[in-house]
C-alpha cells in the first residue's frame, strides 16, 4: 500500500462553459504524485496547470465542468478520496490540513479587509490545531522563515500595504501553516528575487525531506525545476505531453515542446561578451545558429527622456486605536536615475525594496516627493493633475498584478481598445478592432480572446493582456513591473522579442522591473540595483553582471538557479544575517547615499 501514490490523476478532462459552447481546458490529463516527492508541472502558459490544481482543490469556478476522469487522493491507508467527485464537506476537511495550495495570483488572493496575522492564523485554530497564542507564534516563525522583514508590522498590516513579493511569501506561509501532506504550489516564486527564492526552495525541500510532504510545483522557471524537482510533468494545450525524472527531461527531452522549452531557457552569462541586448532565438522560427542581431536602439546622444532626482516615497504606518501615524515605511529613499530614448533600464532588487513603488510614483499613483523629474527636458514634478494628463499617453505601466488591473466587467478586447479610443488613436471600436487583434496576436493570444472577460484567462494570459494594453498607445516609456514573470520561457521569449521590436520601431524606453536575472541580462542596457528603497548600484548591464561591486548585487547573482539538475548545489544560508527594515519612526532623517564611481558608467553606493 505504501507504494500507491499519494495522488493519482487519470484521464482528467475538463471544460469551461461559455456562450460559444464548451471550451476544453484539460484533455485527458494523467499523472501521479508520491509521498515526499516534488513533481514539477511545467508547460505553456494557458495549458491548464492552474486549472488542474484548482480541480484538485475543488475550487473551480462555477462554469467549469469535469467531463471525465479521476483524481484519487490517498492521505493514509484508511482514507481514499476521488477529489473530482467527493462532497463539499469532505473536501473541506481535506483542504488546508492535508492538501494545501499556494495560488498563482497572490495579489488578489488575500482578503483586503483582514490583517495578515488574522489570515495566517485563523486556519490553525479553526481546525483546533492550537491556541490563538500558539498560532500567532507559529505564524511569526513562518513569516520569518520566508524571510520577511518587519514580521510584526506585516502581521498587523492589510494586504494592500505589502509588496507583490511579500504577499507571495505570505501566501506560502499560509499554505504551510497546517503542515499539509501535500502542497500544490502554483508559481510560488514569480514575484520573488532570487535570493529569497532560493531560500523558499530550501524550505520546501526540508519539509519534503523531514515530513515527507509531497509537492506539486507549478512553474515556468526551468532553473527552479532543475533545482528542486524529482520528476517533471510537461503540459501543452491541456494535455500532458511528457513525464519523466528531472534528469531525463533535461537531458533527453522527447516532445518537441519540451525541447523548445529547454532551448529557450536563458542562461546567466550567455551575454557576458555582448555589449548590446540581444533578441531571443525562437525555436522553430529562428535558426539557432544564426548570430542574433544586437539591439542597438538606445540613444545616448541627446538628453535623457526621463530624469529623476531625489524621488522619495514614504508610507505612513498607523497604530493604536486613534490610528496615529507613528512610523513610516521608507519605500523609496531619494533615488536618482535617468533613462534615454530606446533604452531598457532594469530595476532589480530584493522583494519589497521599493521597485513597484518607484514605478507608481512616476505615474503619480502614490504621493511622493522629488527634487525634480524631467520628462523630455520638461520639469513635470510640479504639474498639476490636469496638466499631467496629456503625458499619460507617453508613459504606460504594466502592473505587477495584471488580474487586478483589468476591469472584471469589461471584455479584454474593450479594455485594450479603450486607451486607443481615449486618445483618439482610433475613432471607433470598429477601427480599433484590427489593432486589438494584432496586439493580441503579437502577445500570443487569439483575436477571439477579445470577447472574454479577465477571469476566463490563465495568469500568464492576463499578463500578456496587460502588456498588450500598455503597448497599444505606443508610449515613450513603459514601466513593466514583473511583466513576464508568469510566462513560460517560450512565450516569454516571444514577448520579450516583441518588446524589443517595439523598441526598434518606436524607440520606446522600457523600465523593466524583474527578478529574473537571466532575462534582465538579455534585455537591459543599464541596471539599477535597489536595496531598502535606495539604489545601491547603478551602471551598464555589462559592468554590473561582470563586475558586481555591492554586497547585495553579488549575492543576487550568486543565487540565480541554474537550469541543470546535474549542477544542483546545496546552498548555505547564513541565518544570523541581519535583515534591516525600511520602517523608521516618524520624522527620521535619512541622508542621500553617496556613490563611488567604479568605472565609466558604473556607480556603487558607499
Amino acid at each position: 500500500m505504501t507504494d500507491s501514490p499519494l495522488l493519482e490523476i487519470t484521464d482528467l478532462t475538463l471544460s469551461f462553459k461559455s456562450r460559444e459552447g464548451l471550451n476544453r481546458a484539460l484533455d485527458g490529463v494523467s499523472f501521479s504524485v508520491h509521498r515526499g516527492e516534488v513533481v514539477a508541472v511545467v508547460g505553456e502558459s494557458g495549458s491548464g496547470k492552474s486549472v488542474t490544481s484548482l480541480a484538485l482543490m475543488g475550487l473551480l469556478s462555477d462554469n467549469a465542468v469535469i467531463e471525465k476522469g479521476q483524481a484519487i487522493y490517498t492521505p493514509d491507508v484508511n482514507r481514499r478520496y476521488d477529489l473530482t467527485c467527493i462532497d463539499e464537506r469532505t473536501h473541506r476537511s481535506i483542504r488546508g490540513q492535508s492538501l494545501a495550495m499556494i495560488f498563482q495570483e497572490p495579489m488578489t488572493s488575500l482578503n483586503p479587509v483582514l490583517k495578515i496575522g488574522d489570515q495566517l492564523t485563523e486556519a490553525l485554530f479553526d481546525h483546533h490545531l492550537c491556541s490563538r497564542e500558539q498560532a500567532w507564534q507559529k505564524a511569526l516563525a513562518l513569516l520569518d522563515q520566508v524571510r520577511i522583514n518587519d514580521v510584526e508590522r506585516v502581521m498587523n498590516s492589510y494586504p494592500q500595504a505589502l509588496s507583490g513579493g511579500m504577499r507571495q511569501r505570505v501566501m506560502i506561509a499560509l499554505a504551510l501553516t497546517c503542515d499539509p501532506q501535500m502542497l500544490i504550489a502554483d508559481e510560488p516564486t514569480t514575484a520573488l528575487d532570487v535570493t529569497v527564492q532560493a531560500r523558499i526552495l530550501q524550505i520546501l525541500r526540508e519539509l519534503q525531506l523531514h515530513r515527507q510532504m509531497a509537492v506539486m510545483f507549478i512553474t515556468h522557471d526551468m532553473g527552479v525545476v532543475a533545482e528542486i524537482a524529482d520528476r517533471v510533468v510537461v503540459m501543452f494545450r491541456g494535455k500532458v505531453v511528457e513525464t519523466g525524472s528531472v534528469e531525463q527531461i533535461f537531458k533527453a527531452p522527447r516532445h518537441p515542446y519540451t525541447q523548445s522549452l529547454l532551448a529557450a531557457v536563458p542562461k546567466l552569462g550567455d551575454m557576458a561578451d555582448s555589449h548590446w541586448p540581444k533578441r531571443f532565438a525562437i525555436v522553430g522560427e529562428d535558426d539557432p545558429n544564426v548570430v542574433l542581431e544586437q539591439q542597438r536602439t538606445a540613444d545616448y546622444s541627446g538628453k535623457p527622456l526621463l530624469d529623476v532626482r531625489g524621488l522619495q516615497v514614504y508610507y505612513p504606518i498607523r497604530s493604536g486605536i486613534l490610528s496615529k501615524t507613528t512610523h513610516e515605511v521608507h519605500a523609496v529613499e531619494q533615488i536618482d536615475f535617468d533613462i534615454y530614448p530606446g533604452e531598457t533600464l532594469a530595476i532589480v532588487g530584493e522583494s519589497g525594496c521599493g521597485k513597484s513603488t518607484t514605478g507608481r510614483a512616476l505615474l503619480r499613483l502614490v504621493e511622493h516627493q522629488s527634487e525634480s523629474i524631467h520628462f523630455q527636458g520638461k520639469e513635470i514634478s510640479l504639474l498639476n493633475d490636469r496638466a499631467f494628463k496629456p503625458l499619460r499617453q507617453s508613459m504606460q505601466m504594466v502592473f505587477q498584478d495584471p488580474y487586478a488591473s483589468l476591469n472584471p466587467r469589461l471584455t479584454v478586447g474593450f479594455t485594450i481598445a479603450e486607451p486607443l479610443l481615449i486618445h483618439g488613436m482610433a475613432k471607433s471600436l470598429k477601427e480599433a478592432s484590427p489593432v486589438v487583434a494584432q496586439l493580441l496576436k503579437s502577445v500570443g493570444l487569439e483575436p477571439e480572446h477579445a470577447r472574454r472577460y479577465p477571469h476566463e484567462f490563465s495568469g500568464g494570459q492576463r499578463q500578456r493582456i496587460a502588456i498588450a494594453r500598455a503597448m497599444a498607445l505606443q508610449p515613450k516609456v513603459i514601466i513593466a513591473d514583473e511583466a513576464v514573470s508568469a510566462l513560460d520561457v517560450s512565450i516569454q521569449a516571444q514577448v520579450i522579442n516583441l518588446m524589443m521590436d517595439l523598441q526598434q520601431k518606436t524607440g520606446v524606453a522600457w523600465i523593466f522591473i524583474s527578478h529574473d536575472m537571466a532575462v534582465v541580462e538579455r534585455i537591459a542596457n543599464r541596471i539599477a540595483v535597489m536595496y531598502l528603497g535606495q539604489i545601491v548600484e547603478y551602471g551598464s548591464r555589462h559592468a554590473i553582471f561582470n563586475h558586481p561591486q555591492h554586497e547585495y548585487t553579488k549575492r543576487l547573482l550568486a543565487s540565480v538557479p541554474i537550469a541543470d539538475p546535474s549542477r544542483r548545489v546545496a546552498r548555505q544560508f547564513d541565518d544570523d544575517e541581519l535583515r534591516p527594515s525600511p520602517m523608521r519612526p516618524l520624522g527620521a532623517a535619512v541622508t542621500k547615499p553617496h556613490y563611488k564611481k567604479v568605472a565609466e558608467q558604473h556607480w556603487v553606493a558607499i
Binding site: G413, P419, I422, S433, R469
Partner: protein
C-alpha cells in the same frame, strides 16, 4: 467568405453596451420579468379597451360589494368597478413609480459618484446636503414641493424623486469609495482617461448592483408614496385610479371586514415590484461577468 471572417473579427470587441444587451437577452429570468413589465405597460396603454367599466363611474347601489360576476374584483367605497380601476391604475402608477425613482436615481448616482470620487469639500457638501434632505420628513418635503412647484402629476414625480436622491447618493458613494482604490481604476487613469470616463465606465458599473437592488425595491415604495401625495392635493385628482390611492382608500374598510378593496391593488403592486425585482436581479447578474451559469 473573406468578408465573413472579417466581420467576425470586427465582432470580437463589443462595446460594453452591446455586450450588456447580448447577455441580458440570453437570461430567461430577465426576458420573463421584462416581458411581464412590457405586458403591464401594454395593459396601461390599452386600458380603455380592456377595462369592463368606466373607472370613474359609480354605482350607488353597489358600494363596496365583494367580488362577483359583474365586478370580478368587486367595487370600492364609491361603487366603482375595482378591476377597471386597477387596469387604468397601471397607467399612473407605473408612470410615477418608474420615472420618479429613475429621476431620483440619476441624480443620486451623479452626486454619489462625485462625492465618493473627489472627496474633500465636495463630498462634505453633497453628503451633508443629502443628510438634510433625508432628515426632512417626507410629508414636509412634499408640502414644500407643492408650495414651490404647485400641484401636478410631474411634480409628484419630482417630489417622490427628491425622497430617493439621498439614498442613492449614499449607496453610490459607499461603493465609489472602495472602487476608486481598485487597481483597474488606477490602470485606466494611467491610460489617460478623463475622470468622467473613469466614473461612468469603470466605477459606476461596479456600484450598479447595489443601485439596481435599491431601485427595484423603491418602485413599490414610490407608488405608495405617490398616493399619499395625492391626498395633499399634489398629483392627480383623488378619483383618478391609481394603485396606491385605491389601496389607501381601502384602509378603513379593511377593519370593517371589506378586504378586496385593498387586496387587489396590493397584489397589483406586489406583482409589479416582484417583476421589477426579478428584472433587477437579472440585470445585476448580467453586469457581473463572473456570475453566469
Amino acid at each position: 467568405m473573406d468578408s465573413l471572417i472579417e466581420m467576425n473579427q470586427q465582432d470580437n470587441i463589443r462595446s460594453p453596451w452591446r455586450e450588456f444587451w447580448r447577455r441580458i437577452l440570453a437570461n430567461p429570468v430577465a426576458v420573463g420579468s421584462g416581458g411581464f413589465i412590457v405586458l403591464l405597460v401594454l395593459v396601461a396603454i390599452f386600458a380603455p379597451w380592456l377595462a369592463p367599466y368606466n373607472p370613474l363611474h359609480s354605482d350607488w347601489n353597489a358600494l363596496a360589494t365583494a367580488p362577483n360576476w359583474q365586478h370580478w374584483m368587486g367595487t370600492d367605497d364609491l361603487g366603482r368597478d375595482l378591476l377597471s380601476r386597477i387596469i387604468y391604475g397601471a397607467r399612473i402608477s407605473l408612470y410615477v413609480g418608474f420615472f420618479s425613482v429613475t429621476l431620483g436615481m440619476v441624480a443620486g448616482i451623479l452626486l454619489g459618484l462625485f462625492a465618493g470620487y473627489y472627496g474633500g469639500w465636495l463630498d462634505m457638501l453633497i453628503m451633508r446636503g443629502a443628510d438634510v434632505l433625508f432628515a426632512f420628513p417626507g410629508m414636509l418635503l412634499a408640502i414644500a414641493v407643492v408650495a414651490i412647484l404647485g400641484p401636478g402629476l410631474n411634480n409628484v414625480i419630482v417630489a417622490v424623486a427628491v425622497f430617493s436622491v439621498p439614498v442613492f447618493a449614499r449607496i453610490v458613494r459607499a461603493s465609489t469609495l472602495s472602487l476608486k482604490q481598485a487597481a483597474y481604476v488606477e490602470a485606466v487613469r494611467c491610460a489617460g482617461a478623463r475622470d468622467r470616463l473613469i466614473l461612468l465606465r469603470h466605477i459606476l458599473p461596479g456600484t450598479l448592483s447595489n443601485v439596481i437592488v435599491f431601485f427595484t425595491m423603491r418602485i413599490g415604495t414610490s407608488i405608495l408614496t405617490a398616493a399619499s401625495l395625492s391626498f395633499i392635493g399634489l398629483g392627480p385628482e383623488p378619483d383618478v385610479p391609481e394603485w396606491g390611492n385605491i389601496l389607501a382608500m381601502g384602509r378603513n374598510m379593511m377593519m370593517a371586514g371589506v378586504w378586496h378593496v385593498s387586496l387587489f391593488p396590493g397584489l397589483a403592486i406586489f406583482v409589479t415590484v416582484l417583476a421589477f425585482n426579478l428584472l433587477g436581479d437579472a440585470l445585476r447578474d448580467t453586469l457581473d461577468p463572473k456570475l453566469k451559469n
